[in-house]
């Protein structure tokens, strides 16, 4: 009994020491890490809406139509109070697992832009979706997510029809296209609602 107590105390002492060290490091690095995350998100949002000056997080107002994708976060993008559109952080499953993308939808019912945030697909194949130097159209230097910019939501969003696939990565291409489509549908619905509510 005494021996057990001693062992427990020794372990507790080590754990306490580790806790103190970690608390110190966390206090020092915490704000910087958070700052990076916010800055990164704002930079991505700015890429989709260069004219925007403010982003407001929407909670639960926008939900996907089917279960194939999830929305991590939705932002209403405005300039001087006037709405420019909606940006949605979409999470869906692709060839290599969870993939997240940021999809911007303008008030004119067009995709303003798409940015792949995280993709775990095969390097050199599916992961080319994120590469800034992989072009689906070499003559115009259009990347895979780049081709969605300006695309009207009334398009069918089907790979090999109105969407150019990444070579040898049909599963990735289809999964990402579906994510953009789902985000587009949900965003359009929200914009419709808020426009009516505004009137």
């Amino acid at each position: 009994m005494k021996e057990t107590l001693k062992l427990g105390l020794v372990l507790a002492a080590f754990a306490a020491g580790a806790c103190v060290a970690l608390a110190l490091v966390y206090t020092v690095t915490g704000p910087t890490i958070e700052g990076h995350e916010i800055k990164q998100l704002e930079m991505s949002l700015k890429e989709l809406f260069p004219a925007a000056d403010s982003f407001r997080a929407l909670d639960g107002d926008v939900a996907p139509k089917d279960g194939s994708v999830k929305f991590d976060q939705t932002y209403e993008v405005t300039r001087a109070g006037a709405p420019l559109g909606v940006a949605i952080k979409v999470r869906g499953s692709s060839y290599g697992g969870d993939t997240t993308m940021l999809v911007g939808v303008g008030t004119d019912r067009r995709i303003t832009g798409v940015k792949v945030l995280d993709i775990k697909d095969t390097p050199g194949l599916g992961a080319n979706a994120k590469s800034p130097t992989y072009f689906v159209d070499k003559s115009t230097k259009t990347t895979f997510p780049g081709q969605f910019a300006g695309k009207p939501l009334s398009d069918p969003f089907e790979v090999k029809k109105d969407v150019v696939a990444i070579t040898a990565s049909t599963i990735t291409s289809k999964a990402l296209t579906n994510m953009v489509k789902q985000a587009g549908i949900a965003a359009a619905e929200y914009l419709e609602r808020s426009a009516q509510g505004g009137k």
Binding site: K6, L7, V10, L11, F14, A15, G17, A18, A21, L22, V25, Y26, V28, T29, G30, T32, I33, H36, Q40, T122, P123, G124, L125
Partner: protein, 209 residues
């Protein structure tokens, strides 16, 4: 002094954790698709192993034998979290591309193995030297494999285009099977290197005799 040099060099070739002891391989194969990742991973790993071995060697007489493994894990996990948080704060890009492999240093068998086999029995100075040898032994192999794979598989080194534009990257080297192949080449290279070193070690002895 000579003894310390001996401990240090051992980790680089004769007892290289990856090529001779063959432990800690999964992270090594996974992160070696680019040189930048390999350097980051190698240094993070070296940091953790040096401090883990130092702390455990300092407290080695206070750690009861029956709870030594949990104690080691607490120490290793603490240093791993420290390096993970620091990288997230000051090298966000690198930390992102290494992803889960930094937190996974906790369960890296190289650290656990050296702490158990070496640091828990030896003096702090020896332990730190051993850790440096093992850490750098791990790092040089990682960087070597990564250089090979990045150059052939992507045509770049440290993200700078090295191969001519016309070079068609050999994807195979970026994919896992290519990693195994390059790794095998490094093992054979290391065995050759060890033999050469052994021979040069023995030569002066013969002369003396």
């Amino acid at each position: 002094m000579k003894r310390l040099v001996g401990i240090f060099v051992r980790g680089l070739v004769a007892e290289n954790p990856l090529l001779m002891l063959m432990i800690g391989l999964c992270s090594a194969l996974a992160v070696t698709t680019s040189v930048e990742n390999a350097i980051g991973m190698g240094l993070a790993m070296t940091f953790v192993i040096v401090f883990a071995e130092l702390v455990i060697s300092l407290f080695r007489k206070l750690i009861p034998n029956s709870v030594r493994i949990p104690t080691f894990i607490i120490v290793i996990a603490a240093f791993t979290t420290i390096i993970d948080l620091s990288m997230k704060a000051y090298f966000p890009e690198l930390s992102k591309s290494l992803g889960v492999f930094i937190p996974l240093i906790v369960v890296n068998c190289i650290i656990m193995g050296r702490v158990e086999a070496f640091a828990s029995k030896e003096k702090p100075l020896d332990a730190v030297v051993d850790a440096l040898g093992m850490g750098l032994g791990y790092t040089w192999v990682l960087v070597g494999i990564a250089a090979f794979r990045e150059l052939l598989g992507n045509g770049t080194l440290l993200s700078a285009q090295i191969m001519p534009e016309a070079y068609q990257p050999i994807l195979f080297f970026t994919l896992p099977p290519g990693g195994f192949l390059v790794f095998a080449l490094f093992i054979s290279f290391n065995i050759w290197l060890k033999r050469v070193l052994d021979r040069s070690d023995r030569a002066p002895v013969k002369e003396a005799a």
